[in-house]
């Protein structure tokens, strides 16, 4: 169980035919004990900032909701429940400030609502279990990364206050930008805890394009030469185009391919059907060559 940085990123990307991995600087390899590389992606700065913002908003909303409830309770008890409400208020504030992140990251999802919304989760950098002490450590550091600068920003007024605010802003900037100055996008808290924030998007299984387009493709027959015009890279681009299905792009790509393979369109031929049929044909051709151990990278690959 070892997470190693991918040194031969480009080579691997070619070998597995992933068109995006070659220039993906956020990709990190995580090799499971079973020996499969899961190829994690790190959460980028924007997503993490958005996640933090969502969490802060939730915390503020919770505080406001609690204040309203406490006010109602005070009115309801005619001031007699003051002590209980006061105690609860102090503890609620403490829990929100210090335990909000910890408690949510201790759940199996290892993510706060904000992270969940952005498809992020916390993971141990060594690929092992994410332990409670690591979660505590990464969030205790928020004290100097987040709350201290915020309290500096709250200082207003006289000359001294302004200087303190400035110092606070500088401090804030150092910690705010810290993740941008290391490869793994670590916060100070991540550094101290041995964690990182990775993407854990939940993808739906998209329908197989070959299956969905089957009724339409019966009438198309392509020759071997026509199917040999393209390679894996173009197939993936075509897949992307078909999945998005924007009429303009479809028309454009269809015209391009017809020209390339010398296809004479029938008068009532739909662009979408033509592309779906060509996709099915091309994939079949490339897959049968894969069985012989030949992966044709792109249209320039002569193998």
């Amino acid at each position: 169980m070892k997470a190693t940085r991918k040194k031969t990123k480009a080579a691997t990307a070619v070998a597995i035919g992933d068109p995006t991995a070659g220039d993906d600087r956020q990709a990190r390899s995580l090799v499971t004990p079973e020996g499969v590389d899961l190829k994690l992606r790190l959460g980028d700065a924007g997503e993490r900032a958005a996640a933090l913002l969502i969490d802060l908003l939730i915390m503020v909303a919770a505080l406001i909701a609690f204040a309203l409830l406490a006010g109602l309770a005070m009115i309801g008890s005619k001031g007699k429940g003051g002590e209980v409400i006061g105690t609860v208020a102090v503890l609620v504030f403490f829990v929100l400030r210090n335990l909000y992140f910890v408690l949510f990251e201790l759940t199996p999802g290892a993510a706060t609502p904000g992270k969940r919304a952005m498809g992020l989760r916390v993971a141990a950098r060594n690929g092992g279990r994410l332990t409670a002490d690591a979660i505590f450590a990464r969030n205790a550091m928020r004290e100097i990364e987040l709350y201290l600068p915020l309290s500096f920003l709250a200082v207003q007024g006289d000359q001294v206050g302004a200087w303190i605010s400035l110092a606070g802003l500088l401090w804030c900037a150092v910690f705010l930008l810290f993740p941008l100055f290391n490869r793994d996008r670590l916060r100070v808290g991540d550094l101290v805890a041995g964690t990182w924030v990775v993407k854990a998007p939940t993808r739906k299984l998209a329908p197989d394009l070959v299956e969905t387009s089957r009724p339409a493709v019966e009438r198309f027959r392509f020759t071997m030469a026509q199917l040999d015009a393209y390679g894996v890279k173009e197939l993936h681009v075509l897949e992307d185009v078909l999945r998005r299905y924007e009429t303009k792009t479809i028309a454009l790509v269809a015209a391009r391919i017809r020209l390339k393979i010398g296809w004479n369109a029938a008068p009532d031929e739909s662009n979408g059907d033509f592309l779906a049929a060509y996709y099915a044909g091309l994939r079949g051709r490339l897959e049968s060559r894969l069985l012989l151990g030949k992966r044709r990278k792109d249209k320039f690959d002569k193998s």
Binding site: M1, I16, G17, D18, P19, L30, T32, E34, V36, L38, E83, G86, T87, V90, L91, F94, N98, P108, G109, A110, R121, R125, R129, L130, A132, D133, A134, F136, A137, R138, A140, E143, I144, E145, L186, L191, V192, A193, G194, A200, T202, R203, L205, A206, D208, L209, V210, E211, E218, V232, L235, H236, E239, A280, R283, L286, E287, S288, L290, L291
Partner: protein
Amino acid sequence: MAELHLKSYRFRAEREADWRRLERLLTKVGKGSAKALSDEELLALPVLYRQALSSLSVARATSLDQGLVDYLESLSTRAYFLVYGTRSNFLERLGGFFGHAWPDAAKALWRETLASFLLTLVGVLAAYFLTLHDPDWFSAFVPGDLAGGRGPTASVEAMRATLYDQGEHKGLSVFAAFLFTHNSGVAIFAFALGFAFCLPTSMLMAYNGAMLGAFLAAFGMKGLAFEAGGWLAIHGVTEISAVILAGAAGLRIGWTLAFPGDLSRPAAMAQAGRQSATLMGGVVVMLFCAGILEGVGRQVIQNDFARYGIGLVTLVAWPAYLYLPRRRSVVG
């Protein structure tokens, strides 16, 4: 037709049901807790996970359907985190924490604890003698709102009154909760500040000691040393020990950042951070006890000897719990 000969199409058709089942299990766990799964589902989980992993390997090598490969990557990653992620339940974790993790961390950080203790001691002694020598120092060490009318200028009677709380027990739990949260905040802050190469944490420790020393001097000058000792002992032993441990945790972080030792800096930091964090968990527990002792115990118990008694018990109990050698559990 071509698609009937597509291996990737058949491959998917044969395995899709298993993937879907794994996906359903993952969604179930994501919504509730790990307890949401039945025994049968728990047993099926690792099997389905390995099937998804092998499907991913095969799909990467033979399928040109990028949507399928993406899906399997996401599915396998989610399942990996569940299978190899945190799964021990809350009670087990709690048992492990009190059973060995916390005392182990305290033992491992004994050097930092000693340093933190000495810094506090230096603060106490310096402030004590400075204040005895020149009472004006008191206000330099103790901020006005914390002094609360105490100080070298106050009368003996007024000082005595702050040590005992006659009859008025209202708002005790609010006070206890406030003390607990305030002190925990300070402790976490001391820990986090350690990151800046120990310096702020060291200063915080010395300053914390200085406040204590100045207080003791102020009471000592009025001949109230014994009474003030009792007032302090009942909760102070627990509270000051907790703050010293928090300082130790901070020092370990800062020290490791400066001198990572044999490991790479990130690896050393991660190790030190986890160990210190465990200790910090213990600090919060101690501060909770101190908050109750201070907010409730000190108000209810007005007898000096009883106060000293409780102080003495805590003075023996905490070190005994943390540092006495204990039998290793075989599992660890």
